[in-house]
């Protein structure tokens, strides 16, 4: 996938931290698209998994993570520690996905 190590621990197991670069983050704001929304509103009647939304959010989260990784690479980091995810609805029908962590160089 990528050579940059992501973890939600405070250290990379079996390695030691050589340098801290500070916080890196990535975000994306997504609105549901009309097609998916219609499909989901039908699915909403019978309940269960809304696959369209699961995919949408997974994709969005991957994009946010990719942005964070890009930022970390630019700083010269090879790992991001203590990665956290947060989701918030910022507007009607739109959600912001935010990923953040500490960029470090591990050896």
């Amino acid at each position: 996938m990528n050579d940059l190590l992501l973890t939600n621990l405070e250290s990379v197991p079996g390695r030691h931290i050589a340098e801290h670069y500070g916080l890196v983050s990535g975000n994306t704001v997504r609105a549901k698209n009309v097609g998916r929304d219609i499909a989901a509103s039908f699915k909403n009647l019978v309940g269960g998994e809304l696959k369209g939304y699961t995919e949408l959010l997974t994709e969005a989260r991957q994009q946010a993570t990719a942005r964070m990784i890009e930022q970390a690479r630019a700083l010269g980091a090879n790992a991001v520690l203590n990665v956290r995810f947060s989701t918030s609805s910022v507007a009607q029908g739109a959600a912001e996905l935010y990923v953040y962590g500490s960029a470090v160089r591990v050896e």
């Binding site: 405070e10 909403n44 309940g47």
Partner: protein, 171 residues
Amino acid sequence: MDPSQSQNSELIFMLIFYALPVVGLVVFGLIGVVAERRHFASIRLREQTGPRIPMVTVRKCDPNRAVAESRLVTGSVVVSLDYFKRFLAGLRNLFGGRVRSYESLMDRARREATLRLQAECVGADMVLNFRIETSALANTRGKKGAGGVEVLAYGTMVRYVPMDAMPPPLG
């Protein structure tokens, strides 16, 4: 027009107008119940047959063992209630108390997300700092809730160097 005929058509209109939501409640409710049963059966099956990877909220791994691999793993799912259960939950709002339909929905979502996370950690010995995050998605009219609930499970998978591949401990 014959007055009895117009009365008849009015009756039919009223019947459709009032009966349709009720029929919808019953039909979608039944489909929802069947779908939920099947989902739970699938969850139970996968929990029993899948690999048993210990998932802990502890953040330190065993310091005595060498780590071969560690990375972030995630699993997520968006689920929603069916029409009938949402209606029942709405009624519950009037009287208060346990809302069982949402309890089972959350249980279902968390277990599914956890299973998806486990599917990602092939060969893992354990998952450290396991966390589950829940967020309600806004529905089509922009109101909070009812549009579905997203559950995200994440953690760090750790694979140790096998015991026999390690040099014998000193002393």
